[in-house]
Symmetry: C2
Subunit: 386 residues, 2 copies
């Protein structure tokens, strides 16, 4: 045997306070659920639980969409599932780009053979409704409008309701990224008339990462069923996935579902239903107000204008004279506190403080403010010249 | 709020004995690992653990391949990752089909724009080397040979070493499905010269489902880097995934890794290294012999000829007069024992008894034999005519 067994020990993670852009803190109740005994993916007890997850997700998304389920992969697979099913080669897709995840949507459109029409706004700004209207005027044949409800890379919220109205007015379907919004601020799939949306388990739902809740309207399903070309991904093809996730008739094997992570998502959604989604939204808002008041005392400045600011993701300008990596490193090693760095165009310029799910609580806000105060005081000291 | 909170309780799964085609029983040690506190996917403690997982997977695959890591999705995503990266539109791919998963490979080739050349063998038979040689003779321009090492749908093992030799002789890359073989029987990536292989976490590694270990040779990477067309999947594009999983230089964010499931995989691989992979292979073999002896006493007949029989997946002909669904239903409800049904062409004709990972132990074998004996005795009773 040329390859011998490595002498590696069991992994004992440190205990952090997670206040970055996700994962957020995971309640012990959810971790305990994940550690329950594994059963088979076709076990009647498991498939009953799948039905409960669908019902709970419909509540989270505020939708009656039958096709609502968690994709067995991270949020990025949820995104790709929407694009590979709803975009055919040659389809024009208006994509709103005001951060990293809008840019990722463009990549998805290109790889499906679609034609992306870009509507660009500055990072930190919401999507401009006027620009989208102009894009539809210039591209009346656009089939899909894609936008990010809550840009995780900037902390800006766009007006999903108005964007969906524009799309419907022009006969286009909507694809909405609500990875960071679901559970933290209102996401009203049916009231807004959104056709396809995807989220992630590890943000305001406070589950562990790895699952992507999605929902599709009847209009979206009709488009998938009327495709002239096969969906390019076998794994993400809704026509196949449905055989397993649909509750009608006999379930057919598609892939082996991630059993224990789904136990965790089920528990996270039960907790959301217990709290009540309006209460969860109000809690995120209240914790944001508490954080905002504390940040003002520390002299830290928000990047996003108040009207578009997400309560659950707070982007701050790094103060002049403060070393980004050194300060975050100190927060992590001295306080076991994780906050987020800037991504893409905002790398090195901003910090992102998440107040998502279980992390949106008073103890976390106060701890974060205390840690920031301590680190800023040390890091801002002028270096002694000897 | 038109959609009100459903009154759904926490899920308490039954405790089953899992002896189907996977998931297999998950040791408490692995479940406990999954319930440890979540940390960030860019936390240095986490990225150190990622490096350990890569090292442990190289041991499991018996390879020095640098590009060895777990894809953040089920085995099917591992499969698709291999095909979308290594097959370009117009590439001829010889695909060996002797069960469900060979058929799935064909679907993957088609959806990448490749041209599948089918080598078909009866379900339950190993892949015929002569037919593959003939296929290469008729298609000297074939770029890839794809085959399933251990067909999960039938329990047949094919000669991976000889197949890889044929591919190399004809200048083709190999893609090997080792979902059911990894950890249960020898999988010698480097000794056999396999270019790309994918597996699953929930079979002989005894972890929970949802992760797909993969490994790629330098020849495979060269092919990916020389592609003329972009990889059609954003999520599975190795050029992008590598930025996160490679240990060199600064890690770039690609997607949020499934933190807690990776804790579980790490623990499963630590346990494999502790046992020693040769000992794991020997244990699977010994438990198979024990099961075989017991099945002979019950008069149950294997579907696969002895030379090609997988120790970890035992396909049996359902005895005449026994109702498939009723018997499996009894095993599940009266004995909390899951065995596998037949898939595809073998549905209703066979049972699949898995002896994978932690399920490959004496207590399970004896329990399974006892339960089968009881259920067969009841189910075989002639119905009383009144």
């Amino acid at each position: 045997m040329p390859f011998t067994a490595p002498a590696i020990k069991s992994f004992q993670p440190p205990r952090r306070t997670l206040m970055g852009p996700g994962p957020s803190d995971v309640p012990q109740r959810i971790l305990d659920a994940m550690a329950r005994p594994t059963i088979g993916h076709l076990d009647p007890a498991f498939t009953d639980m799948m039905e409960e997850i669908k019902q709970l997700l419909r509540y989270a998304f505020q939708t009656g969409n039958k096709l609502t389920f968690p994709v067995s992969g991270p949020g990025s697979v949820g995104m790709e599932t929407c694009f590979v099913n709803l975009v055919e080669p040659g389809d024009k897709v208006i994509v709103c780009v005001n951060g990293v995840f809008g840019g990722r949507m463009v990549e998805n459109v290109k790889r499906t053979g679609g034609i992306p029409v870009l509507v660009e706004d500055a990072w930190g700004e919401p999507v401009s409704l006027n620009k989208v209207a102009d894009a539809f005027a210039a591209n009346p044949d656009a089939k899909v409008l894609a936008f990010v409800h809550a840009e995780t890379s900037t902390g800006a919220r766009s007006d999903a309701k108005a964007l969906a109205e524009l799309a419907r007015k022009h006969g286009a379907l909507t694809i909405m990224d609500c990875v960071t919004s679901l559970g933290g601020i209102p996401v009203l799939i049916d009231a807004w008339g959104i056709d396809a949306a995807y989220s992630g388990s590890q943000k305001c739902l406070s589950c562990t990462p790895g699952l992507a809740p999605v929902t599709f309207s009847e209009r979206a399903i009709a488009k998938v069923q009327a495709r002239k070309t096969p969906v390019q991904s076998w794994f993400m093809d809704l026509n196949l996935v449905l055989g397993y996730w649909s509750g009608e008739g006999r379930r057919t094997y598609h892939h082996t579902a991630p059993i224990n992570p789904l136990y965790g998502l089920h528990e996270a959604l039960v907790m959301l239903a217990e709290e009540g989604i309006e209460n969860a939204w109000a809690r995120h808002r209240a914790m944001h107000e508490r954080l905002k008041a504390g940040l003002a005392k520390l002299g830290l400045r928000f990047v996003v204008a108040e009207a578009a600011r997400l309560p659950q993701l707070n982007s701050l300008a790094i103060p002049a004279g403060i070393d980004d990596a050194a300060a975050r490193g100190r927060l992590l090693t001295e306080f076991n506190l994780e906050i987020g760095a800037g991504l893409g165009a905002l790398a090195g310029q901003i910090w992102r403080i998440g107040l998502m799910g279980y992390s949106a609580k008073q103890a976390n806000v106060d701890y974060c403010l205390k840690a920031l105060e301590a680190v800023l005081a040390v890091e801002a000291q002028p270096v002694a010249v000897i």
